[in-house]
């Protein structure tokens, strides 16, 4: 039958293996370098129109605006890579921000680290609840976290009532956190960058990190490879929740007035940042660094609109447009990549 059609070919007639690797590497580097290029071009254009855009004050402003989003994006990246989504981060942030900083008013003199721990604890509890329902209950994460988005926000509204935490109740050491500078760079931005770096390193270099990619890339194959998918996904949600809890405390230090609307809508901004940063929305690829750059790009844009005197009303439209652009680019690259890889596919020509 078709064996009769056998046309033998020496396997050594394969294209050199280095050429195809170079290609993959190039395209993969593009995944992040692309968005960095966009960022640089954007900054350059804006600065040429309005030099004030790159003065120290504005850079500081943009960086400290980015910190919360970039931190949230780290947790979201871990979840999205595993082919899940966490829509509850904004609500978790809001609840954590109020409950933790409300302690300053109730128990004056409470140490700042304890407040952070409380925020972390609230976030972890929410993340664990999400993780349990997704991993053990096997409910799609889109549904679970959509529900907890409302539930946690609802709890937040009940807890807050008509109150709010105001700046006067916050100790100055707490308020100073987002303002501390090292050579004009916000101290917090450096810490967050280090955290994101560590997260990216974890995802890249540890088995459990790689397994998150594996789960997102092909859940069935992950099961066959004996990967404890439930455990890994659960952990990703717990981390995402914990990070959102911490981010809530940082958010409070930055904005100092915390009512029940804190963090509303952040989940969508964060997911935008993640996707703009090159993380595949259906999992399997992307990096925490890319997601952080995505967050930086989004807040750079909103700052640029401000500096250029364009109405912030444009903010959302432009963010949405960028998202489309990112997804189109991503799709284009992956189609090109697949085609290119297919052509260079190993030693057998069909």
């Amino acid at each position: 039958m078709s064996a009769a059609l056998t046309e033998r070919q020496d396997p050594s007639s394969a294209p050199a293996r280095t050429s195809s690797r170079k290609l993959t590497e190039r395209v993969f580097r593009i995944r992040e370098s692309g968005i960095i290029a966009v960022l640089i071009v954007f900054v350059a254009i804006t600065a040429s129109i309005q030099p004030r855009f790159i003065d120290q004050a504005n850079i500081q402003f943009v960086l400290s605006n980015t910190t919360v989003y970039a931190l949230l994006a780290l947790g979201e990246t871990m979840v999205v890579i595993s082919r899940n989504v966490d829509l509850s981060v904004g609500s978790v942030l809001g609840l954590s921000a109020y409950v933790s900083t409300n302690l300053f008013g109730h128990s004056p003199g409470i140490p700042v680290p304890v407040v952070f721990l409380v925020g972390l604890g609230i976030g972890l509890a929410c993340g664990i609840a999400n993780g349990l329902m997704v991993a053990i209950g096997r409910v799609p994460s889109l549904v679970v976290t959509l529900a907890t988005l409302y539930i946690i926000r609802g709890i937040d509204i009940l807890v807050v009532g008509g109150n709010e935490v105001v700046a006067q109740t916050l100790p100055s050491s707490f308020i100073a956190i987002p303002r501390a500078n090292v050579f004009g760079v916000p101290y917090l931005a450096i810490v967050i960058a280090a955290v994101i770096g560590a997260g990216a390193y974890y995802l890249r270099s540890f088995r459990s990190g790689r397994e998150l990619y594996a789960i997102g890339s092909n859940p069935e194959a992950a099961r066959l490879a004996g990967i404890p998918a439930g455990k890994r996904v659960f952990t990703a949600f717990a981390i995402s929740g914990g990070i959102a809890g911490l981010a809530g405390v940082l958010w409070a230090a930055q904005y100092q007035t915390i009512d029940s609307t804190a963090g509303t809508g952040y989940e969508l901004t964060v997911i935008s940042a993640v996707v703009v940063g090159g993380v595949a929305i259906f999992g399997g690829s992307g990096s925490a660094v890319g997601a952080a750059v995505g967050a930086l790009l989004l807040s750079t844009i909103s700052s640029a609109l401000n500096v250029l005197g364009i109405s912030p009303d444009w903010d959302q439209a432009i963010a949405g447009f960028l998202l489309l652009l990112a997804i189109t680019l991503d799709r284009g690259i992956s189609v090109k990549l697949t085609a290119a890889l297919r052509k260079r596919s190993s030693g057998v020509g069909t």
Binding site: S2, A3, L5, T6, F206, R207, Y213, S217, L341
Partner: protein, 523 residues
């Protein structure tokens, strides 16, 4: 992590055992396994002995119990009775992990890989070599993957992502993984079904390498020529029972076919070929850049035209362009003398074309929908009343076609995914026949289908032609091409290279035209 579980051939394989039914010192031995699913007895007496250094073929029709046997070896199914011995000691496999630990690896027809991850990560996922601080040692991982491919004698870049790898390369990745797991028994479940001839050749080289290293290979295929080309011993199963185990030397294809089906295959008598009628399909100078060039062909009513050629020669692409799935850059497609809109399957269907695609699971069927819904899918317009599909009409329609095509199914409302491959293919055929097509295009009508059903599908296509339908068949299997084709067209690298009438054609002539040894002849 040194993947050196396969000992050299002289280690434990020893000289080839004599031609008895149960060779000496088998690496793996399954004795009298039985397994039933509800009322269905999938395996009654499943027995097989696998010897190191030997490729052992397992053949049988679909439903003979091969897949169940494979799944028992893979640890997916636990047999109801019977026992499994590895190196002479009894083993119980509670799951795939146990099979892996016992040194059994299964290479499926379509491997499940991580498309976004690199080849090396696919091989070592969950078992990556580590350096200090439990970090993955990427360099070592790369080196080990390279070493695996060197041992297999294939060239594959371990650093590239798996997305875009051909099925053949994906299987190589799986085989590399099996090696890295120190597998000594490698089960290949119809690995060649989706491979081109060149890829089959390379896979065979890998099988030889594995044998030389002392592994036992269980090779499952519907293509008996392949069995003879690569295996030393064969086990035939029929109706869940072990029929025979022999050395292949001295056996013929006919012997195996007889053992599998208990009868000989009927060749199509010349009398079945009717006189072709009017032109139905006329394709002129059809070209799609980089895919196919200047394709002109015609199919008449009552005629079966077979399109032969190597996989990748552009046959399926021509069919897809005719049916309007893909665009074409130049040329025309005429149906019964009228031009057909390009890139519009709707127009093609309206003009009376039916298209049975190559990949029935992905393109031909909606796997989660029921048998009757799948059959009715292309005929919903006729089953509609006031915009609603009437279930009763749908059912009657599907039942009618199920009888005509001798479809074997549980209930018409069962999901089509529960049917065997052959019956799935019949379902796709029923779907298109229900529209009463003027022209039926069938791409690989019998891929992965057992021999008896294959004969039924052939008979069906012949009958259709006698009823005046124009049929265009694309097939990689030469006997099928010879049996069905009134005229045989051969493609090579995107061009038509030869045309033969059924009287003056032979396997050799088709092969020559398909591989380029016969240039500009016979046209």
């Amino acid at each position: 992590m040194g993947p050196d579980g396969i000992t050299p051939a002289d280690g434990n394989a020893g000289p080839a055992p004599a031609a008895d039914a149960h060779p000496a010192d088998p690496l793996l031995s399954l004795r009298d396994a039985s397994k039933s699913f509800g009322a269905v007895q999938a395996i009654v007496h499943g027995s097989i002995d696998l010897v190191g250094g030997e490729a052992h073929a397992l053949v049988g029709e679909n439903g003979a119990g091969k897949s169940t046997l494979v799944k028992i070896l893979a640890g997916v199914h636990q047999p109801d009775t019977g026992s499994l011995f590895i190196d002479g000691s009894p083993v119980l496999l509670h799951g795939p992990a146990d099979a892996q630990a016992a040194g059994i690896a299964v290479i499926y027809q379509e491997p499940t890989l991580f498309p976004d991850l690199s080849v090396e990560e696919n091989i070592f996922m969950g078992r990556q070599p580590m350096r200090s601080g439990r970090r993955i040692d990427r360099r070592l991982m790369r080196a080990e993957a390279m070493a695996l491919f060197d041992r297999l004698g294939v060239r594959l870049d371990p650093g590239r992502v798996c997305r875009g790898l051909s099925i053949a390369d994906q299987q190589i990745v799986e085989i590399g993984k099996a090696l890295s797991l120190n597998a000594r028994v490698i089960v290949m479940d119809e690995p060649t079904a989706a491979l081109s001839a060149t890829e089959v050749g390379r896979l065979f080289d890998v099988v030889r390498t594995l044998r030389a290293a002392g592994a036992a290979v269980l090779f499952i295929s519907h293509r008996l020529e392949e069995v003879f080309a690569i295996c030393q011993r064969v086990t035939v199963m029929r109706d869940g029972r072990h029929v025979l185990t022999r050395e292949l030397a001295g056996l013929t294809t006919d012997d195996l076919v007889r053992a599998m089906v208990g009868r000989e295959m009927v060749q199509r008598p010349t009398g079945e070929r009717g006189a072709p009628g009017d032109h139905v399909l006329k394709v002129e100078h059809l070209t799609r850049e980089g895919v196919f060039t200047d394709i002109s062909l015609e199919v008449r009513a009552g005629e079966i035209v077979a399109l032969a050629g190597l996989v990748g020669s552009g046959r399926s692409e021509v069919a897809r362009a005719i049916f309007g799935i893909d665009r074409y850059d130049a040329g025309t497609v005429l149906m019964q003398g009228r031009g057909l809109h390009r890139a519009s399957p709707t127009a093609a269907m309206a003009a009376g074309i039916g298209f049975v695609p190559e990949d029935r699971r992905q393109q031909g069927l909606v796997m989660d929908m029921s048998v009757q819904q799948n059959v009715a899918l292309a005929s919903l317009g006729r089953l509609r009343k006031a915009g609603l599909i009437r279930a009763a009409a749908e059912r009657a329609f599907a039942a009618d076609w199920a009888v005509r095509l001798k479809l074997k199914y549980g209930k018409l409302t069962d999901p089509v995914s529960r049917l065997s491959g052959g019956n799935q293919q019949k379902t796709v055929l029923a779907k298109w026949l229900g529209r009463k097509p003027v022209l039926l295009i069938v791409d690989e009508p019998t891929r992965g289908i057992d021999i008896a059903t294959k004969a039924e599908v052939h008979q069906l296509l012949v009958q259709l032609a006698r009823d005046g339908v124009a049929v265009l068949v694309i097939s990689s299997e030469l006997p099928e091409v010879l049996r069905l084709g009134d005229r045989i067209l051969v493609m090579r690298e995107g061009r038509l290279t030869a045309e033969f009438g059924h009287a003056d054609v032979s396997e050799e002539k088709i092969m020559a035209a398909a591989t380029g040894q016969l240039q500009k002849q016979a046209r």
